[in-house]
């Protein structure tokens, strides 16, 4: 059930700093209200939630929400959050980052937070551009994407956050867009319930800097463009694709369970992977400390 916007404003945001400084139509506002709704649906009290953010448009979010908040240095939000989680394992720590913040300057911290599998919930808002500093190319700018630092079109291969999370050892990875808001709330809700490191990548729009340079239209057109360029991960379709002989297809079925629809250029959204829960990092750490500092 969708919460009333006025209720979100009164209960979960800081009205004295609103309206936000984000551009009109920016998807970050949708991300913020979705996070608040997910926290509400999980039944978490405001004092039990901490939001850590870095620098960038996304980093401003920690100023608007009325949780325990920490606005940290550029890219170091996962490092601060690791310390916070170790000191207070009872807190639900949300780390909110943009694509440049998390993958470029903070790539090392993100990788090691995922390697430790510490119980953070990382929200990576991916708009393929550095928004706050004037639209420079970011690690996720697609090949051919025109930005202020790649006028003829970016020629670098974009980073694959999904593969990075899988290889680094994260527990949960999901992808959503700001267009599909109901799924976005549900996915953040699921990520909050994961005991280990969980990550939700949110495809957002920067129509002011990226959309204008690439003729993608205004905010509404960019969001509606997310419908044909993404597709939902559908377990039934995946099963059907791995058993084509049962649908009367010719012989020699192709095993697509590992790399489903590799020729499909559309971005998958939904839960991409989820690992079985492992021991909590903070708990193991405190047990180790207690064991080694106990007096004989």
């Amino acid at each position: 059930m969708k919460l009333q916007n006025g209720f979100i404003l009164r209960e979960y945001l800081r009205p004295q700093v609103l309206p936000t400084t984000w551009c009109p139509g920016c998807g970050l506002g949708i991300v913020m209200s979705s996070i608040v709704q997910a926290v509400h649906h999980r039944g978490l009290a405001k004092r039990d939630v901490a939001m850590v953010s870095g620098i960038g448009c996304t980093g401003r979010m920690s100023g608007y929400v009325d949780f325990n908040t920490l606005h940290t240095t550029h890219g170091r939000a996962p490092a601060f959050a690791t310390g916070l989680k170790l000191a207070r394992p009872d807190l639900n720590v949300l780390v909110v980052m943009g694509d440049g913040d998390s993958m470029s300057i903070g790539g090392n911290h993100l990788v090691h937070a995922m390697r430790r599998n510490i119980g953070l919930t990382a929200i990576v808002v991916n708009n393929a551009v550095y928004g706050l500093t004037g639209g420079q190319a970011s690690p996720t700018t697609p090949v051919g994407g025109r930005t202020t630092t790649s006028r003829p079109g970016s020629f670098e291969r974009p980073m694959n956050l999904e593969a990075l999370a899988r290889a680094s050892g994260a527990s949960f990875f999901a992808r959503a867009t700001v267009n599909h808001t109901a799924a976005l709330v549900k996915l953040i809700e699921r990520a909050l319930a994961v005991p280990g490191f969980s990550m939700v990548e949110i495809v957002s729009n920067c129509h002011v800097l990226y959309g204008r340079m690439n003729d993608l239209g205004d905010a509404a057109q960019m969001m509606q463009g997310m419908e044909p360029t993404t597709r939902r991960v559908n377990p039934v379709l995946l099963r059907r694709a791995s058993m084509p002989q049962r649908l009367g297809a010719p012989e020699a079925p192709v095993d697509t369970s590992d790399t489903p629809f590799i020729d499909d250029p559309r971005i998958q959204r939904g839960v991409i992977f989820e690992r079985a829960p492992r021991d909590d990092y903070a708990q193991r750490y405190h047990a180790m400390v207690a064991e080694h500092t106990a007096l004989p």
Binding site: N5, G6, P24, G29, T181
Partner: protein
């Protein structure tokens, strides 16, 4: 067959929060909202609202609310 009673939903716009981005106007499937000369949304066909909350969900500034009647 269920008879859907129209025109029972109340739409509230908070002008002080609104940035006139036009998302609610673009997303309304029933053309309830329209942009005025300053591009701010106004309710023009309140009776057509079906309470889908597409405008509420897509408002980045939490400036629009749809209320269903009590009970």
């Amino acid at each position: 067959m269920t008879v859907v009673e129209r025109g029972i939903y109340r739409i509230e716009l908070t002008r002080s929060m609104c940035k006139a981005c036009g998302l609610c106007v673009a997303w309304c499937p029933q053309q309830v909202l329209a942009a005025d000369e300053q591009a701010y949304p106004v309710v023009v066909r309140a009776e057509a609202c079906v309470n889908c909350k597409a405008c509420e969900r897509h408002c980045p500034d939490l400036a629009i609310e749809v209320f269903a009647p009590e009970g």
